[in-house]
Amino acid sequence: MIKPLTFIGQGLPYLDPGHLSGWLIVVEGSDGAGRTTQIQLLRGWLEYQGYGVVDTDWTLSPLVSTTIGLAKEGHAMNVLTFNLLYATDFADRLEHEIIPALRAGFVVLSDRYIYTAIARALARGADREWVRNLFGFALQPDIVFYLKADVQTLARRTLLAAGLDYWESGLDQNPGMDPYDSFIHYQRRLLREYSRLAKEFNFVTVNAKPAISTVQRHLREHLLPILTSEGREHTLDVEEPRL
């Protein structure tokens, strides 16, 4: 399906208005909600169904990833520059990876999108309108899944996977606090922001607590009406490959 470029806000006025033939699918949710697992499964399914898939992760752009890493280590960022560095990183990936892939007809699976950055910025006290405008250059996704889980589940899964890190625990916001308490405190604020964003931006909220295969089936079902191509006779099969 050929679509015009649609942006969240002011967009990228200098871009060739051209068209996009791919799909931008976003999976949002806190760490420990199972985003990465679900994206891997979606990729396998989509490729099995014949789609070209590109995935993109939050902060992997070659432009500022080193700078972000160094600044995180040295705690050299403040709230404002933290938000801006992530915005820069995203802009670089948007223009160099996401838009070219969408123009070439790929399905882009985005592990987090601007909503994570907006939620983090708001949890750190940034001005709501300012952050929204800042990310106004972002492309409007075809669908945003929000994998929702409660704080205790997220904490258990995060601790099992990797342990707590300074920024994910929000320790910059709670200096001196016990890392676990800070994590809970910060994640609660993030969840509140995600819930507000879910309404504002029409997320498809999916309960992340059931079995992996159950969650995956939900995601696939929601994608059926979106992934329609001209000339494609058979509809997608939610069951194959088997979960």
């Binding site: 806000g9 002011q10 967009g11 990228l12 006025p13 200098y14 070659p62 432009l63 500022v64 080193t66 700078t67 160094l70 600044a71 050299a76 960022m77 403040n78 709230v79 404002l80 520059t81 801006l84 560095l85 915005a87 820069t88 802009a91 670089d92 223009e95 160099h96 750190r124 006290g125 940034a126 001005d127 309108e129 300012w130 405008n133 800042l134 106004g136 250059f137 910059d172 916001q173 200096p175």
Partner: protein
């Protein structure tokens, strides 16, 4: 202090923004203009004059924070920057300097001279094609300057100056990323011409003190000093850099 510090940390930035005058005891003086307009020369002369009068001055330059230096340099070298990432990297640099170099001296009552400010982004990034409203909103947390000088010069004159002072016009300075022309000089003239248009259009919006930058250097500098005396007449230096023994409140006009 502990409580306030913590609250500052949580709120983004409690400045009144570009739309409203600040109430810090210090003063913010900004110089703007296209490359080759001579604004840096004028800013340095102003700094020397103020220091000689015992006024404590802090000087800050566009795109100079260590935070994003590496990324900006790498991005420019690989020609990877798009109008948006170019704009965002400069905004990050600005935010970092505003937090550490501009607001603290203003709070301490010093005069801050900024060689380029948010208006550079409004002129240059818009000439590169970003949305004028987007970039203005993005910089909305900036402190409104007490005086913004705009050194107005023709593109031909600035090109002459740059060519006589250094060998090569830089890639982004000439707007070569926009594919306006393959010829560097031609591209420079088209791009800087558009930047100039943006500056001219902003002059009223932000109450620029416009200086004819093709006048002799000393004539321009006297105009700059007169404007400073006129527009920050209420400024009192909290201490003197020249005679530390005479520390105390010191009006600009008597600080000689």
């Amino acid at each position: 202090m502990g409580l306030n510090g913590r609250r500052d940390n949580q709120r983004q930035m409690n400045t009144p923004g570009l739309g409203q005058a600040h109430d810090y005891p210090g003063k913010l003086i900004v110089v703007e203009g296209i490359d080759g307009s001579g604004k840096s020369t004028q800013a340095q002369l102003l700094q020397k004059w103020l220091l000689n009068r015992g006024v404590p001055v802090f000087f800050t330059e566009w795109n100079s924070s260590p935070l994003v230096r590496r990324a900006t340099k790498a991005g420019k070298k690989k020609n990877r920057l798009t109008p948006t990432t170019f704009s965002l990297l400069h905004l990050t640099d600005f935010a970092d300097r505003l937090t550490y170099q501009i607001i603290p001296p203003l709070k301490a009552g010093m005069v801050v001279i900024a060689d380029r400010y948010a208006f550079t982004a409004f002129a240059r990034d818009v000439a590169r094609g970003v949305h004028p409203q987007w970039v203005r909103e993005a910089y909305s947390f900036a402190v409104r300057p007490d005086i913004a000088f705009y050194f107005k010069v023709t593109v031909e004159c600035s090109l002459d100056r740059l060519q006589s002072s250094r060998a090569k016009i830089k890639f982004y300075e000439a707007g070569m990323d926009l594919n306006l022309s393959r010829n560097v000089e031609e591209s420079f003239c088209i791009f800087q011409g558009q930047v100039l248009e943006q500056y001219d259009a902003m002059s009223d919006e932000y109450d620029f003190e416009v200086i004819d930058a093709e006048l002799p250097i000393d004539v321009q500098q006297l105009m700059v000093r007169r404007a400073v005396e006129r527009r920050v007449a209420d400024y009192m230096a909290p201490f003197s850099t020249r005679t530390p023994a005479r520390a105390g409140m010191l009006p600009l006009s008597e600080a000689r």
